[in-house]
Structure formats: structure tokens, C-alpha cells
Symmetry: C2
Subunit: 346 residues, 2 copies
């Protein structure tokens, strides 16, 4: 099976690619080739199958056609303009987060119609040989509202408080309709805020959630823009990758028309995250994090729901989150040394 990861140069894309390379298969089907697609060409990856690294604009149909050749069985669509960036640049968010998703749909649709044409004149009356590729889409908690008081039900409507969330909700609608039409077979995972991200702070409004653990573990100060009892809906990178891999392999018939999954994250306050940090790395680490108000960031994250019921996902095979201390330990095991090296070199 040909597998493509859009946003394959990013943090989660890279990690998922490593998982595929280790497994050599998705849901029991051997991977024959992997394409990593991103705005900048992803670095090579060692794997038991050929890995193609491509650079391009996800909203450009011709480029995308090269990334998703005929016979592609799985596309993981992680390419996105993140929250604060989509808020700062309306056009860019629309282009990447909406037009990019539409271009992915159009690419799959073209493969489907090419396939039907290849069957000849009687093709339309026979069951099409086209196998709609699984598309795993990362939607976001930012597509919901409710803020600190929320405990979002699985059938809650999406009334986003920011452009990123609106664009993700729109992506879900586009993909659900494309699924119904048979162009592809989508599963949309509304990812919690992923912590602990390695590297440097990025343009995501939630960047501070990772920074308050990562920076102290590097011996550096970190700040958060919200009160210490402010709660966020989070998950570890390990769990995010588990969920994406499961969404890639699961039997999608169990989803019916509702292609959106609220996976079982953790509702954690800043204090609880810092407690976990202290338990693992001592009170000195915890003392490096402190609040500095930032009204602009707070205005974005205040709208995001602090908690989800997430009752549907476990029955569909999405594994629960680990405790916060294990999230911190997971970062130390997987990423701390590499992050430290990057900082020294950078």
C-alpha cells in the first residue's frame, strides 16, 4: 500500500512516519512506499520501503497529484496553518486549511474517476474497482467553544471562536461529504493540545502548554499567559501517534456518517501540569515557570473547551491517555536530549 503524509516534515508527521517504518504495515497491509510531503522538503527517513520526500503547496492540485499517486491507500493530512498564524493571516489560513483540504479531495476524486474511465464504456454500471483511500485528518479542539466550563459531548456542534477552528470544522464537513460520495474514506481526529512538543515555541496559541514543561527541563525559564487554574485538553505525542495510526487502520464502517472523533485526552490545569513536572524533575524545575499575562493568546485559548466527554472513542478502539507524569517522562525519554542538542547547535 502507498502511504502519503501531508505535513510529513512536521513534528507529528515525522513521528508517525517513524512508526510506519518500524511497523512496515498499516492494519496488516504491508507498506510498499511512503511519500512525505511538506512545504519544505522533509529530511530522508530510513525505512524497509522506499520513502519519497516532496516539497510543495498543499493547495496546488498539480503538486498534490504527485504526492498522491493512483493506488494510494492512505493519506494522513496533517498540513495546516496553526491557530495564532491563521488568526494573524486570514488568507493564509483559508488557503492552506480549506483550499488544501479541498485539493486533497479533488485529487482523490480524480483518481476515482480515472479509475472508472479505465473500466471502459460499461464502467459506470459495474461496481467500481476504485478503492477509496483512507484519509486521516487532524481536526482540533479549537473547532469547539465553551471554554473553561465546557465538557464537550460527542455530538456537540462546532461553533468555533477562532479562524483556525472554523477552518478545521469546514475541513471535517468537506471530508465527510467526500466520504459519503465515495471519493475517499475519512476519519477526522480532533486532536487535543499535544504536549510536550520538542523544539522551539511555534505560532500555535497553545505553544505555552509544552513550553512550561520543556523549557524547565532544559534549565530555562518559561511563561504561561493564563491563570494557574486554567485547564487545557491535552495529550502526549505518543498518544497522538497511537490515535492517528489507529484511525489509519480501523474499520471505518463503525463510524457511520459521523466521521469526527473526540479522542480520550486529559483535562489538566496549568498547576497539575507543573505538579507533574515537579514530581519528575523536582521543585526547582517547577519554579522556572511563571505567569506573564498575554491578552491576545488568552483571548484565543479561552474559547477552547477545557474538557470533553469523549465517550465514543474508547469503544472505537482509541486508547486512553496516560497520566500526566508519564507524559512528562515520555518527553524526557523520547525528546529531551535531541531538544537540548538542537538548542546548543542552534
Amino acid at each position: 500500500m502507498q502511504v502519503t503524509i501531508l505535513g510529513g516534515g512536521g513534528f507529528l508527521g515525522r513521528r508517525l512516519a517513524a512508526r510506519f517504518a518500524a511497523d512496515g504495515a498499516v492494519g496488516g497491509q504491508p507498506i510498499t512506499a511512503l511519500t512525505l510531503f511538506d512545504l519544505h522538503e522533509p529530511a530522508p527517513l530510513e525505512a524497509p520501503f522506499p520513502v519519497h520526500c516532496l516539497a510543495g503547496d498543499v493547495a496546488d492540485a498539480a503538486t498534490l497529484a504527485r504526492a498522491i499517486p493512483a493506488g494510494t491507500g492512505l493519506v494522513v493530512h496533517l498540513a495546516a496553518v496553526v491557530s495564532a498564524a491563521a488568526e494573524a493571516d486570514y488568507e493564509l489560513g483559508i488557503r492552506v486549511n480549506i483550499a488544501g483540504t479541498q485539493a486533497l479531495i479533488d485529487t482523490c476524486r480524480k483518481l476515482a474517476s480515472d479509475d472508472r474511465r479505465a473500466e471502459g464504456p460499461g464502467g459506470l454500471n459495474r461496481p467500481p474497482s476504485y478503492q477509496a483511500p483512507r484519509v486521516v485528518f487532524t481536526s482540533s479542539v479549537a473547532s469547539f467553544d465553551g471554554g473553561q466550563a465546557a465538557n464537550v459531548a460527542d455530538d456537540a456542534r462546532q461553533l468555533p471562536t477562532n479562524s483556525y477552528g472554523a477552518q478545521k470544522a469546514i475541513g471535517e464537513l468537506l471530508l465527510a461529504d467526500a466520504t459519503r460520495r465515495g471519493f475517499l474514506d475519512a476519519v477526522s481526529i480532533r486532536l487535543p493540545t499535544v504536549m510536550v512538543r520538542p523544539g522551539r515555541p511555534n505560532r500555535a496559541a497553545s505553544s505555552f502548554v509544552s513550553a512550561i514543561v520543556r523549557e524547565p527541563l532544559l534549565g530555562l525559564e518559561a511563561t504561561y499567559p493564563v491563570p494557574a487554574d486554567f485547564r487545557v485538553w491535552v495529550c502526549s505525542p505518543r498518544r497522538a501517534v497511537d490515535w492517528l495510526a489507529h484511525a489509519a487502520a480501523m474499520d471505518s464502517a463503525a463510524l457511520g456518517r459521523d466521521r469526527g472523533i473526540n479522542p480520550p485526552g486529559i483535562s489538566a490545569s496549568i498547576d497539575q501540569i507543573l505538579d507533574a513536572l515537579a514530581e519528575v524533575a523536582g521543585p526547582e524545575a517547577r519554579a522556572l515557570a511563571r505567569r506573564i499575562e498575554d491578552a491576545e493568546v488568552e483571548a484565543i485559548v479561552a474559547g477552547w473547551p477545557a474538557s470533553f466527554a469523549a465517550t465514543r472513542a474508547p469503544g472505537l478502539g482509541f486508547v486512553p491517555s496516560e497520566p500526566l507524569v508519564d507524559v512528562v517522562r515520555g518527553f524526557i525519554a523520547d525528546d529531551l536530549e535531541a531538544t537540548r542538542r538542537d538548542r546548543v547547535l542552534g
Copy 2:
């Protein structure tokens, strides 16, 4: 105030324009000019203010800029590819129903930024003089699911069963976000199936709902593709125009972030509609309507909810629907003679 109606050559657009011409004002503000925009140039309209009739593609930014000049206070966005047509032609639906709505937003956004630039270098730090135009958008019951068993709550999520409904739900999300950003000031009315439409059957899957009243009143046979106890959520053209005019004039602050309105329609079975027809025009008229199964149309309309709670709209000033017999009488008073003339001439 400059007023623009996109889809101004259509049935509802035309009727709304006549209402504006009769009133001469919207919400107490005199209308200084009206632009009717449609794919084909709308016919001239007599009014106490200049009326400009323009033809063009709603998804084309340059064309739309001519239809929505600086200082526009109200845009009523009725331009759409209807349900069966959007199902038959995916690309056309995406282009008109999504790209058209995005082009409207981009046009308003450009007016806003032109306005800020005109204020000079200090402009960004002063309250902008730009008055975000009211945009009244016709969304649809087809953006919801649930079918015959449904009684849709005002805060229900939209999980559409067809491309038209998905595209309307996406339009709502785009407009709500554009409202939050201050580009415009949207009110989205999820119109029930409007009956009785004059003229001939069209590409809307719900076309039969009007036909079973209109055709018998013309002495002609009519068919419906669903069982006689099948229920539809309907309203009269009079009420649809009342609601659009109210949405154009209302204080939108009462809506908060939730810009979608489920107006108070009528949940009516085919039998009840035919009973109303019989009460007004006798049993001979009723006998002209009969069922002929059509699996394709039934598959589309079966997903649409048969009923809505519509508890929010009355408090916001949207007037209730009239009884079904008055809907039939309204068609006879407003449209029957003109429809008969058209048929004789056509």
C-alpha cells in the same frame, strides 16, 4: 443605504426586491440604491430608488466588487446551486455555494481594509469608520440530518446528508468567522422548503412539495416521490420574505456568536398539504396529485429533518408561519394567474 441582492433574479430575490421597493427603507434606513445580481441579468424593477441589474459569476471577485460597492449596508446572499443540482455536479456546488460565499466575504474584507487605509497612517489605532455590512445568508434545513424522526433543537449540530447541505453549513461557518473578524455582520436563515413556488419544477429535490399544490390548481396532474405520510418542514414565500427582511433589519447583537436561525416553519405531511389544497380548491384538485416513486429524490429528502423546535427565532422577532390553507390561498392570491399566463405563453 446601498442594498445588494445576490441571486436577485430568482424567485425569492425578486420578491424581496419588490418588498424593498414598496418599503423604500430597511430598518428605518432609506435605501439609496439597489443592485440585483444574478447569473443572468435580472429584469428591471420599478422602485423609488435606482436599481442596477448585473449579470455575473458570484465566485468571481472582480465581478462581485462591482455588485458590492463601498458603502454597501446590506447584502442578501441567495445565490446558490440547489440540492439535486449540487448532488449531480459536485464541482459546480463547491464553486457557487462555497467559493461564491468566500468571494462575498473577500469583497467585504477588501472594503474594510480600503476603508482603514483611507484613514491614513494612524488608521489602525483608531476605531475604524468601516461599517460592516449586514449579510443575510439563506442556509437550509438540508444542512441537518435526522429525517422523519427529527425535531431539531436550535443548538443541534449540522451533519448533512447531501453536498448542498454540507456546502450551506460551510457557508455558515465562513460567515460566522468573518462576522467575528468584523468583515461583515451575518445572519444565516436556515430556510424550510418554500412552498408554493410558481413557475416550473426546478432542480431542487424538494420541487414536488410545490408541484402537488401548484399543478392541480392549474388543472394539471402532479406527482410526489414519497409516501403520503412523509413530513416536510415548509414555509410560504410570504413568510420567507418576512424573515429575510427581518434578518436584514434586526439588531444582530442579540445573536451573539451563534449566527444561525431556525425560523418557525410548519411540519406538514403530504396528506396535510393535500388536505389544505382540497379545502381551498375541492376534492377534484386533490385527486390530481398521486405518488410515483423516485428513489433518487427520496434518498436526498429522506435525510432532511421533518421538524424543528425553532424556539429561539420567535424571541428574536421572526414571525410564526400561517396555517397551510393560508399558504395555499397566498399562492392563489400572489402567483396563480401569472403562473397560468406563463404556462400558456411558454
